[in-house]
Symmetry: C2
Subunit: 367 residues, 2 copies
């Protein structure tokens, strides 16, 4: 039920054009996946996402596990049914959220003990339970529990985390899934090329339907991140999708595609929208600034989204200043549209065999 | 440019069926006007309101005066242009908001001094300035500054406020307005039938295009409010629209229509929505309650709104518990739809000459 078809490769870069097929339809790649933490991409419903052209979204296993609970979600037909989302759904493993928790969290070979950030209640998740959790959520693409680390970390610690991630993966793959639910492998290894290479080679030995590149965009230099992406995509098989987890800025996406990444997710467009930072064809706009209070132009003259077609910068500024929820929503619609539209342009340039040209022009326009 | 046509009167009550015509189209009455305080009915944009079937909305002069400022709104083409609303717009005078302010506010014959609830900055509004303000906003229907009082108040105070309201009205009508902008008169008089009678008779002497019933739903008994409505509609001319300001519950609307009111506005549907209190054909639902956590039915099986057509009570409960903005929006869509649909049913029953029957059935269904 799950498949990936590679349509074409860019002759002058590692960029790829392809298509995922899941239980819930097809997804054109390279693709950006908006993040719907609590079964909503904040301020938007499933119909808004469909209107925006999203073909796949990400939801967080950790949040759904705590609220409303994966067993409850399962009893209500899964995340798709509950949020009325008809297209593809990827869930993360919760690993990254749990490793980011400030309070108690204790890692053992068995799994992860942690306290809920909501109630302080104690929980335990094993690699097996994390697969069961995502099975309950009804994910089309699921992630295994991985051992995430802070950067910088000592080499030995990075290696041990990568090794544990592999052992946990081997336990995860044995856990039953529903028909068509694809479990990806996650490559770890911090910013150490040797450990990344080890992790990538070992992970592909497991012959999984797709591969994630984890543990990046956690504070390291951009160059280091790009180098690690290159190390991974060099090793990962061409006939399987590559997913760069939690990345990133529009530029990160373009650079990732250039290096052979097919899938991205990030809270940046939605979170920035709620902070009033908007992505436009002419650079970032901070809509809070007084200079926009009487600006009757649309946010981005090159944009065809609902917000840009119908409202002025002055109105968005006014709504933001008044803390009006509608402002957060209109901003989110625009930023998500910006990311999805950027990827549509990337795919179009790949289809037309002119991605390298698009890449150069886009990068130079950002300076 | 402004007109009111009375289509029909219910034979067994004072209910009326009519149509307003403004610079921005027609409005079928009786009508409920959603409240868009800061140029947004909270969580909704103008297109949402159009989809919901709203033909007229109310915006608050006081809030628009403070932020972004009426002169700025005028320079940007008015409220219609700024919020992309193509249909009719009524604005209040700001009087009620100013009289509700806790801090400094000082009334003199000249006008009202007050401090902004946002910045503490001092302001002064006269009856003349209040008309200019609404002219700047581009309102289709504007309200004169009126002297609002608390209830209960001494008879002498109630009478003086009603008299001042009349003197302020006489100043307001002399202030220039744009073509087609209708200025209503406001009947005051607390819950004193004698003063209400005086105020109504004096106000209609000014021969205005419509009449508002102000100063009700401020804590008095329901019976007193209903009696005052009856006193006013008895006196107000049949060929002019009657607007009951700031009212009320669904039942208040039905009772108001029964007594001859044509127009209503209230924050109740939108504010309750944000508190999780939802109006349904089977009574109020408090979506926060744990009993809805696994309720896979739609909020109201009799409702055709976006929320009820597509989502379950369990999803609305989940969104509310997670403080998700989408929950507030889906709740608002439903509650506004409920109010607008109620008025559509009222108009339909009037068109079919069976309003009294509808009224009896509806009231008895609410017990």
């Amino acid at each position: 039920m799950f498949s990936f078809e590679l349509y074409s490769k860019d002759p002058k870069s590692n960029a790829r054009r392809g298509q995922l097929r899941t239980n819930h339809g097809t997804v054109q790649t390279p693709v950006f996946m908006p993040v719907g933490t609590n079964m909503t991409v904040k301020t938007l419903d499933a119909f808004d996402l469909t209107s925006l052209g999203a073909e796949i979204i990400l939801s967080n296993a950790y949040h759904n596990y705590l609220r409303p609970g994966d067993v409850r979600v399962a009893s209500m037909g899964g995340v798709h049914q509950m949020m009325a989302w008809k297209r593809s759904l990827l869930t993360d493993s919760g690993g990254f959220q749990i490793f980011s928790l400030k309070g108690l969290r204790k890692i053992s070979e068995e799994g992860v003990k942690f306290q809920s950030h909501l109630s302080g209640e104690r929980h335990f998740l094993s690699p097996e339970r994390v697969v069961e959790l995502q099975r309950n959520l009804g994910s089309d693409i699921m992630m295994p529990l991985d051992h995430c680390i802070e950067l910088p970390s000592e080499k030995q610690k990075v290696l041990e985390a990568a090794q544990r991630t592999l052992r946990w993966l081997d336990r995860a793959v044995k856990q039953p899934r529903n028909e068509g639910q694809a479990l990806f492998g996650i490559v770890q290894g911090g910013i150490d090329a040797q450990i990344r290479t080890f992790s990538a080679k070992e992970t592909i030995e497991r012959d999984l339907p797709g591969y994630s590149i984890g543990g990046l965009s956690v504070g390291e230099e951009k160059n280091a991140m790009m180098e690690m992406i290159e190390v991974c995509t060099e090793i990962l098989p061409h006939d399987k999708p590559r997913y760069l987890m939690g990345v990133g800025t529009p530029r990160d996406l373009i650079e990732g595609v250039y290096r052979g990444v097919d899938m991205f997710d990030c809270v940046m467009p939605s979170r920035n929208a709620r902070n009033g930072t908007l992505f436009t064809s002419e650079g970032k706009v901070n809509i809070k600034k007084a200079q926009y209070s009487e600006d009757q132009t649309s946010l981005d003259p090159d944009c065809s989204c609902h917000t840009c077609k119908n409202f002025t910068r002055a109105y968005l500024h006014h709504l933001f200043r008044c803390n009006e929820i509608l402002g957060l929503r209109l901003n989110t619609i625009h930023n998500i549209h910006y990311y999805l539209e950027l990827m549509r342009k990337v795919r179009e340039s790949l289809d037309q065999g002119r991605f390298s040209e698009f890449y150069r022009q886009w990068i130079s326009s950002q300076v």
